[in-house]
Amino acid sequence: MNALRTAALGLLASLAPVSAHAAGAFVTGDGSFVGAPTGDGEVASVRALLFQQGDEVTAVLQTAADSGQNVGGAWILPIPGDILLEPVTADPALLDELLRVSDPIYEPIEGCGGSGCGAAVGDTGALAEVRFFDETKASANWTRFGPGAVQSAVASLESSGFTVPTGVVDGLYDHAADGGSFVVMWFTGDRVGTASPALVVRYQATDLVLPQAITAHTAAGEVQTAVLTITDTATGPEGVARTTPKLGIPLYEPNRTPEFYQARVRVALEEAGGDAWVLEYSNQLDTLEPRKHLLVDASILWDETSKVPWSGLNALVRKGMLNDFNPSEVWITRWRTFQKAHHLRDQRFIPDSSVPAYEVYVTADQFGAAAWVWTVPFLLGGWAMRRRRRRD
């Protein structure tokens, strides 16, 4: 089987019109798929970082299947533009740390003590299953293709034993017709994990698009997607509803706040519609720095010794996959959604100054006795009555 795959890789390399080559590397994770051509695994989670610098975008993408699924084979990753540099893999901690420091924060309660309360600084990771990807070591090779190479790529995949669904092939042609490229990643190690490596691709594009249209053909019943955009301004998903969860004054134990937050995200998405996105963080990148000090577990940071929680991005700069940037001049916006497969699309994220600076920060005093004022409804009622009288 390995010999067959090696032969297929050689064939692919020879057919690819772009300078395709198998830049193999040992990476963290195992195979799963965005638009995967195999039938033994389904995409359940996608997390992505889209960093725009001028007319170039650096994307860090990672996917996972539901836990317990043994996925493997190949990963077809559509790229909405010309690939400028050879893709590389990144330490998944790069995404971990950015997601962690932009997570909702729940202040610990003084004097709470005991089990549970000490963990009041909550996170979405364990519950959302979007941050703690399985990072079983695996190896992979990949090949990148330009827009004109769809046919040869599909033929190569099929010749190496993969079944490429018709919908995926059609999706690839549509993607290529729009000028898109794609990367095929081949997993060569033991495929016992559920997450792909985090792949870094630098490509040419003037806007930010998360390509998920072909994911719909191999998606699980529901796909959770978390997207971090870093641009000059805040961004928002185009053409879909946006929302934020309503939390209220906590009436539960503080250590259950993450669980409650997750549930309210679901409620907000259901109320807003099936293709809606939830805003989870929006501010300048350097606003994450004070949040780092609230982390309970610093080990999830890309570099524990670093003073900043975006040292994974700095590593990409050193690798040449990202131009130098000033954290006080770029804006990070975090969106998340759960979507049924039929809602998946190539989602564009556009600059939107109406997206406010936003974070979820539940202060400790919100768990205590609370006061509320309800004069507003009466004032509004009086105002409405007065208007009615004037009309009469």
Binding site: G248, Y252, P254, V373
Partner: protein
Amino acid sequence: MDPRKHGWGVGRLPLGGLVLGIVSACAPPSLRHAHSLDQGKVAIELAGGINTTAVDAELYGADGDYTVSSADDLPDQLTGDVVVRVGLGYGFELGASPIAGHVKYSALDERRHPDAPFSLALTAQGGVRYAGGGLLLSRQLGDGPVKLRPVANVWYQVHQMPLDWVLPAELVEEDIDVVNPGVTGDENEGALGTGLYATVTIEEVAIPIGLEVPINVHEDWDLVPFFAYTVSIPTYGSFGNVQCVDCFAGLADMNVAQRSQIWIGLKLLPPLVRPTQFAKDSP
């Protein structure tokens, strides 16, 4: 007795509720006439009522939004008002009820001022969980042994009361055995059952309107049945000391959904309007 009914609910049986309510309830004033008592004279008032106060709590649950009401069943709505008053002369009197003491001054008094078209008094009442000031109006009609006395009060009052809400199953997880640990210093912790508890403070303009029927039973005493209806216009509200036992929800807001009282009672007091020749002699 339902352990969640602390100081507000008054039992299950209507009769028992009425009796207990009169003794222990913390309802706002029922109906106060504007006439004053002679110096040293005493009056006793006893009233039972239905207090329909209901505050809606808007809650966020793990699977949707909910609105629950604090409205009680009828037996728990029964309340009472007991007042003992003593005249100080010159239109002043002092009184006490289960929730507050009060002072009253009859500025215009059909008893002391024979030509007065009606009686008008100012009063202030205060207690631990209640404070209010009111303008009292009343006028006595008729001249026989049975008379009529329409009464209207306008109170601006602040009333603090503990309320509780029964939560739907979707907002409850009974395996949580910790009362919201953010709330400290609560003496009731451990005695409460599953549900939401809060101390609600309502500032309101309350307008009791009613009718007293003085029946002269003795030279020095009138027996006065009365009934009244109080409509409330809340102007400000707040809540505190929030506790939720076994809850998995977020509190969005609280709103007064209903606030009124119906009163029926009996007063034993000296005749408030006397023959003209005695009126000016009274201090």
